[in-house]
Symmetry: C2
């Protein structure tokens, strides 16, 4: 394979700045906190039962299974995150803790390789009997991702061996051969996990198993339909409206033209499809990825990089149906967007993939975690009026403030594993050099043409426009440094050792090829004027409104700065808007300031005379930092006149 590949985690280090601070929070606050939560040691939080369940399954203690049937996956995601942390920040205590935990997992595993505490402890007779609802292969997938991450971080094969044995059992059990189950999981995840396992072990058969799962999905005779009929149970509520399309299982994946159904599942499926198209050189799968990528970004993506506009079933809906107040925009789904975008980027160096990845990261995903790393959003609306959100049924899943944990705790560990592995999203190594996707202060290492090359990045991105990259090869070496010029940026400037360079941008990347000597300095300037963004007029719910964006950061208005009734604020088309760095606000950030006006209530509910107005100073803050100052109104989309 000659595709670009992500720089491994150990070769990227964040040192300072906005992303570094989030990654530090995840390492130092989130991962330890979640370990306590998974061990049911957080007072006042919903118990998790995760570690307990494995200890019971391993025979280490008596007791009963606690939680939902996919409970194991919370622990698996934590192991994955903790492993990423070990990869970047070695820690003997955590290493030992993981070893102990993995020993328990290994003991809990059945002789045949089976590992799922719910089905081992509660319904052993129903193993693989309800692929539609029970997330058995999904849980296995997360376990496999954990095993791969642990191996890559530590070099230890303890958990890798466990998950490979599990994968082998799955390989024997599923398929179109005699005696095999011709099924696939209602919740995709195993597919992308198996590709990781194939890469980690070098065994292509795991990728082929993933391809089986992807290819078999939605084929006739429809396995999940037959399974449902066999059990005789009704369709669950979340499949209302879409039936099997909720699970992307109504049609073969190559026939999909719009993303459908449960948003996280759709994104995980797309991530696996992109992986497999690349891994197996499957052109038809690649075409399906291209079609769905185009549809996703053209018709289904929130400005914040989120997806899933329908709370009822956490789903995609109609094209352009992107209401800001009823957005589901689950944190996990935005992480899924990043997974898909990253894999498309590994296919082909196109800035639009990195643009979407960056949009989801700096906005929807950041919104998912509080500034102090202790609280999380599952749902990330683009507009909130707390009293209304608490009162209307369609908003009943919206939390008006972040919470510490969830009964269905998929999002917090997903945020943790994303930020713990953020280094993997920064750069790709390519045959001819390196490509940088995300700009953050830190250091990158790569072996290029046999030479050890380090890049030292200095920047206050996303707040400032300058990115300085010092190239430090062990010895002079020729390679191409490809620097992403974001889609939101016009008038980017590039200099090498102070000398301005003609910018040659191909598909969103400026390539600089030269023989790099130690100390060569590349200076990239990415102008970040305040931009007014308007949505396609078919996004009916935000017609007549603008959003503010600067660089990759989407902004919002919040009640602490403006009082209530943000819908009564109007931003005139010509009103000047200026960024200002506020070191004291929300951990230090750039706000956007200007003056609009506020429509005043009149004497009656409806009036035929134009309403009175009053000037209204505006201060927009980064959306990713909203809801860190108490409960209040928020809006991304501002009325324009």
């Amino acid at each position: 394979m000659n595709y670009p590949s992500a720089l491994p985690l150990g070769q990227v280090r964040f040192t300072r700045g906005f992303l570094a601070e989030r990654a530090r929070l995840v390492r130092e606050v989130v991962i330890p906190y979640q370990w306590e939560a998974l061990n049911d040691r957080v007072a006042g939080a919903e118990p998790s039962g995760c570690v307990h369940n494995f200890q019971v399954a391993a025979g280490e203690k008596p007791g009963k299974f606690y939680g939902l049937f996919w409970q194991d996956s919370d622990l698996a995601k934590w192991i994955e995150a903790a492993s990423y942390r070990l990869a970047t920040h070695p820690d003997a205590a955590l290493d030992a803790e993981l070893d102990r935990l993995i020993a328990t997992l290994a003991k809990a595993q059945g002789a045949d390789g089976y590992l799922n505490t719910y089905f081992q402890l509660v319904e052993p007779q129903n193993r693989w009997a309800n692929l539609r609802d029970c997330h058995e292969l999904y849980v296995a997938g997360h376990m496999i991702e954990a095993g791969v991450a642990h191996f890559q971080a530590t070099g230890k094969r303890t958990l890798l061996t466990v998950v490979a044995k599990l994968a082998d059992l799955i390989e024997r059990t599923f398929g179109l051969g005699p005696g095999q189950i011709p099924g696939y999981c209602g919740h995709e995840e195993i597919e992308l996990a198996l590709v990781k396992l194939a890469r980690a072990t070098g065994e292509i058969r795991y990728a082929r198993l993933a391809a089986y799962f992807v290819n078999q999905r939605g084929q006739e005779p429809n396995y999940l339909q037959a399974e449902t009929k066999r059990r005789g149970d009704p369709l669950p509520w979340h499949m209302y409206f879409d039936g099997l399309a909720t699970l992307q299982a109504a049609r073969p994946v190559r026939e999909l033209t719009e993303p459908v159904g449960h948003a996280v599942r759709q994104m995980y499926l797309l991530a696996a499809m992109a992986d497999l198209a690349r891994e197996l050189g499957d052109a038809t799968l690649r075409r399906a990825c291209d079609t769905l990528w185009a549809s996703l970004v053209r018709r289904h993506l929130y400005l914040t990089g989120g997806v899933g506009a329908e709370p009822y079933g956490e789903k995609f809906t109609e094209p352009f149906d992107l209401p800001p107040d009823r957005a589901y925009a689950e944190t996990c789904a935005a992480i899924g967007v990043i997974f898909f975008a990253r894999r498309m980027l590994e296919f082909e160096l196109r800035g639009e993939y990195a643009d979407v990845m960056e949009r989801a990261l700096y906005n929807n995903v950041l919104s998912g975690m509080s500034l102090d790393g202790t609280k999380f959003f599952y749902v990330n609306p683009l507009e909130l009026i707390p009293a209304v959100a608490k009162r209307r049924y369609e908003c009943h899943l919206v939390k008006t403030q972040r919470v510490g944990w969830f009964g269905c705790a998929c999002c917090p560990p997903n945020v943790a594993r994303l930020f713990a592995s953020l280094g993997e999203y920064v750069a790709s190594q390519r045959p001819d050099g390196l490509a940088l996707h995300l700009y953050a202060e830190g250091e990158l290492r790569a072996a290029i043409g046999g030479a050890d090359v380090r890049l030292a990045v200095r920047t206050d991105y996303p707040w400032t426009e300058e990115v300085a990259i010092e190239v430090r090869p062990a010895a002079p070496v020729e390679f191409t440094l490809s620097l992403r010029i974001p889609g939101w940026c016009r008038g980017a400037k590039l200099a090498v050792n102070g000398r301005a360079q003609e910018l040659a941008v191909t598909h969103g990347y400026a390539a600089v090829r030269r023989t790099w000597a130690p100390g060569d300095l590349v200076t990239l300037t990415l102008p970040m004027p305040v931009e007014r963004v308007r949505a396609d007029p078919r996004v009916s719910t935000v017609a007549g409104r603008v959003a503010l964006q600067r660089g990759p950061v989407v902004y919002c208005l919040e009640e602490p700065d403006h009082g209530a009734n943000l819908a009564g604020i109007v931003l005139p088309r010509a009103a000047p808007l200026a960024p200002r760095h506020d070191p004291a606000l929300l951990g230090g950030c750039v706000v956007i300031e200007g003056t609009g006006y506020r429509v005043q209530p009149g004497a009656s509910l409806y009036q035929t005379t134009p309403p009175a107005t009053a000037p209204q100073p505006l201060r927009a803050i980064p959306y990713g930092l909203w809801a860190n100052r108490g409960e209040g109104e928020m809006t991304v989309w501002i009325h324009e006149s």
Copy 2:
């Protein structure tokens, strides 16, 4: 009692025009059609079982009860509507049909006066056991209204005797005395029915029984809470969020400051409260009515006169939470608004009551019925994108086209009885003369100061601005003719026999006192420019938008005139708008025309460059006539720039 009172139905005749045509449709199409439906003779429609149930209860045929436990009320509402029809348009066949039906009802009635086919045939042991959910007193209320209407239309006491016997049983059963049930109905209706019964029979004790039901509501110890506890059943889904407030039973009615809970119930309760405040001279109840009226029109009323912004439970929500696409605005609730407004108007001649009554009638209620009288809306949104409404859960009760009947068929017979009794809403007789509230071509008769007076009204209202009223007393007689000057109207002009009069408007009514001679002609001119209406800025969902109104008629844009994506249409602030009568459109109506522009989709979902626009001819049609040209988008609120 010295209050104004509605002119009885037999003294008002519509001859021609917009309302007359709807009343004719109801008489000639709706009432006969509903009779067929209630007899299960409409092919393809959901069976009703109503007549069947009474025949079974009367022992006239074998069989089982069919339908919901409030099924009887559909028949009662039809009897009421049919009786109104008899009052205005005598019809021997219908009269005989009613006599036969009433004989069956009388036979079905229990010896103690009980009459409710569900509880007689299905759960005789559970009579009055679940007042919270089972609508027993509600059904009785509709039966009583039917009995009163039949008596008033025909002078026959057949059904009146039946319902008085039922009311007597209720009087014995409910109250705070020993052995009585200290309860009240989960769905208000019996209260206003008992006031009608008191007036029809002259027996004030029925009004006192109504007052008991109103006063006992929400008192501690809470009867419905105790009843729920006794049965041990869970709260039904529709009480999610609000608990007993869903039924206006969480607090005593005099403590309510905002309308709450199920909108139809709240409106029926308010109608009864206004009735009783007047009938019993209860000042505290009157104050509660004033408070809730003010809150209703200031914070909870849709521009179309509808109420109930939350589909989940058909309820009121937060003040100013009036989303156009998720409006429930049930037809029955708007009818309830009319009931309440009419009763406030009988209290005190204030134009604001008539304004709201007219708003609800010409807009929300009219929307409830198709142009040909054969199909109905239950839910009346102010904005519709069919594909989205079919797809989003919170819109799943919205029908994108009217339907012939409903499983819960409350609205069609409610529309029928309202239009069949529309004459009662036209005018009030007062000690000193007559007051006209609604303008429609026709004739009114009243005995004033011993003289027989007729008024002949000629107008094309609501399409034209002129109303000519010829006064025809049998002999010259002095009295005050009070003419409503609508709240939407500025610059009204009044002439008597061609001579302009100084307009003396008190609380929205212009009074003309003189000795009227036969042939005296009053000419009222109510200028109807096209008005742009804006909502209070706290109605966040329509901020930045205007609605068009002319006279009492609210307008909307529809897809047949503009293509899809109505949200992409913008109306500049200064764009001229002109009314035009189109005799061929929708049975003849005034449309509003002008030119706006349409925002063009760009190359991407989000854009930082201002979008291209193209001129867009606009043709707004009356909202009450929407959805008569096939399925398509509709919006009342238009973006303004």
